[in-house]
Symmetry: C2
Subunit: 438 residues, 2 copies
């Protein structure tokens, strides 16, 4: 292994096992691309049984993460233990030991990315995290290395496979409720025992924060990203979405808006005619629009051992090429030079404009529509289309509206007023609409 | 411009004008990504009127391409004159002068890529051509830098916008013939006065040859790529495709097949359920499947001044970063190290296996189906589904079949025999079928 670049993997769970498999099974094709081998030098995994199933050569496996990070024979550390505490410590220790780090840890990059990048820069090593967003989809590299002549206008993504699986399932099995589909997803292994991060949009927000930083060249605080999950979507909303020629997706949305940046995650209606509406099941997709390249879309597996491991190894090859060509920091990790990066002006959700789908549950009596339209009108919201066909859920009938372009604050104020009315029997479902033609 | 990297553009037609526009309009965002400016130093364009419309600063414009190539102040030459003769000479001259070259010239790369890469390597400069395939879609960079841990299994692309526009139009305006839609595309500027390269699949074959080299790590001769255009597609074929739940696309297909590589361009039926079937109009898409990453798809504008210029400038930023980090040849231009590349074993079309859609035009008389099925059977071809509903075109009725998996040579031999039969009134339309489920 004299002229190899040597890899130390910390954490051999699902993704770590995949990385070990890629490095062992595809060593020949990786060497053909690099001109030298990527050698699997050390693998730290505390679970002894799991370590045994990896088929590691003698002397490679260990239960001690720090031993890998501090091993002088390791050039690049792959951090796959997850979380934001021990993972952060190990990453900083690796930088301090002069080692490059590759990770799939979106929570860590979203929460502590700026601090870690500064530490990596100081240590003159790389910190690479393509696998943190969109699994095997090379969307970060596209933003950092391909759309470099463009001013990015928007990034929109389906970046959580669990949420997309659930929404797709609710479409395919009409009438099935969110809790029913969630239970099925958990049985099939597509959702965790605690699904909060996935179904409440938190995981998507982590990924959006990373996309925003790369697309717009600045820093973003996780708490400035608006987050709303899919737990309140009802079967009738899926039906009405179809009536409007739309599908409901959990979109992570970032776009320029008069000098500010919108950054938000919420259930979104998307016209069926748009490619991103056709992304089903556990697949991910990210649509990027630049001022010159125009609209683009990247699609692939967003999670799972193999696809995520593919992205990790792609980064290992990138880092190895940089080591050998002595090209540290050829590409800044966030795409833009640190000196040009600054806190981004994230637009507060209150001032975001959109079309709105409103699903009100009201008593079936005369005058209700005109009362509600009156409230909306006083808040400056005009209605584009109404469906009132007696489809019922709970004890009320459904009154469904698509508004024209309106401001979030006005819609929220109007809804607060409407929900106090006696004729309204249940909380209103609000779904924002994103359309190319908008 | 002391610390800038200086660009000389040769040929300021559609794409060249776009490159000038990107460099001038987005200079700030490009500098924020690089840390130093990309300066537009020289632009050679023989057409004086066109040169005048670019709004170039004093002293930048010239009518002399060689003056740009030999200008000691130019670091990187952008070759956008097209063709394979003068463009080849200028590229070699630029390398000889120690300059890097960026191009969108797919015909040149497909025909003389190996020779030019060897010359670039000898001169220790970069030759970059992301814009040659898929316009603004960063598909070459994905193959070269992202899927580097994967063994690529297949690449399938809609890589010619003109052909895709025509096929989409034939679907939208049912009954319109190929010549009618071609004439409309020419009026709208979506097709050239001489549309041969686009509608006969030649342009797609150029792009496929480049994709094959990058995906599979070897050399490919253009003449080994099977090419068939869309000129014979009739309105009834579009209707029958819909009956089979499919759409007809001009696909460029490359895949591994038992140690060989299939490389072919032809009209192809694709199930509507596959994302690539949903790519409409002048848009392009490339689907890549790797052994670890699984299926992926890249979508965007495949042509036009702005999207292609975006890709050219993306390459300029890449080359400028390599110049400044002293990282020449960090990434090999064809993704794999030259020592690992060799002629690829392209499978002859005769031995390719596929499902086949056959649209026969026969006399409406008893026994025809059984006679034809008999010939197919003797050639080992079994029929999956038949449509015989009396829809007529010309003077014959249509007999439409979908075969099970069959070998190209057997199908061609059977068709040759069938077309000699008295009951067959016109040439048969053959369209191969590609399906994920296949």
């Amino acid at each position: 292994m004299a002229d190899s670049v040597n890899i130390g993997v910390v954490g051999a769970g699902t993704v770590g096992g995949g990385v070990v498999a890629v490095l062992m099974r595809n060593a020949d094709v990786i060497e053909a691309r690099l001109g030298f081998p990527l050698a699997l030098a050390r693998v730290a995994e505390r679970n002894e049984q799991r370590r045994a199933t990896l088929g590691l050569p003698e002397g490679v496996g260990t239960d001690d993460a720090l031993a890998v990070v501090n091993d002088p024979g390791v050039d690049v550390v792959v951090e796959l233990i997850g979380g934001t505490t021990l993972a952060r410590d190990l990453t900083l220790a690796a930088f301090a030991a002069g080692k490059h780090v590759v990770t799939a840890n979106k929570a860590l990059v979203a929460a502590h990315g700026e601090e870690l990048l500064a530490a990596a820069q100081k240590a003159r090593v790389d910190y690479a995290f393509e696998a943190a967003v969109g699994g095997g989809i090379p969307i970060l590299r596209a933003l950092r290395e391909s759309f470099t002549g463009d001013r990015i206008q928007s990034v929109q993504g389906i970046v959580n496979g669990t949420a997309n699986f659930i929404l797709t399932r609710m479409e395919d099995e009409r009438g099935t409720t969110f809790p029913e589909v969630l239970a099925e997803a958990q049985r099939l292994g597509y959702a965790e025992a605690d699904p909060t991060y996935d179904v409440e949009g938190i995981d998507s927000a982590h990924k959006l924060a990373i996309l925003v930083a790369l697309a717009f060249g600045g820093q973003v605080r996780l708490e400035d990203v608006y987050v709303e999950g899919i737990t309140k979507i009802e079967p009738l909303d899926i039906d009405y979405a179809e009536d409007f020629g739309c599908r409901i997706k959990l979109l992570a949305i970032a776009k320029r808006a008069d000098g500010e940046i919108e950054a938000r995650v919420h259930p979104t209606m998307v016209p069926e005619s748009q490619l991103i509406a056709q992304v089903d099941g556990v697949f991910n997709a990210v649509a990027v629009t630049g001022d010159f390249v125009g609209p683009t879309l990247f699609y692939g597996r967003g999670a799972g051992a193999d696809a995520t491991a593919s992205a990790v190894v792609g980064d290992l090859v990138e880092v190895a090429r940089a080591i050998r060509s002595d090209a540290a920091a050829r590409v800044p990790a966030m795409g833009f030079q640190p000196a040009f990066r600054a806190p981004l002006p994230i637009r507060p959700m209150d001032r975001v404009e959109s079309l709105y789908y409103l699903h009100l549950k009201v008593m079936d009596q005369p005058g209700v529509l005109s009362d509600i339209a009156g409230v909306l009108g006083r808040h400056g919201i005009s209605i584009g289309r109404v469906i009132q066909d007696g489809r019922a859920e709970h004890e009320a009938v459904s009154l469904v509206m698509m508004t024209h372009r309106a401001v979030e604050r006005a819609v929220q104020d109007a809804l607060a007023e409407i929900e106090k009315m006696g004729c309204v029997r249940a909380p209103t479902t609000l779904i924002r609409v994103e359309s190319d033609e908008d």
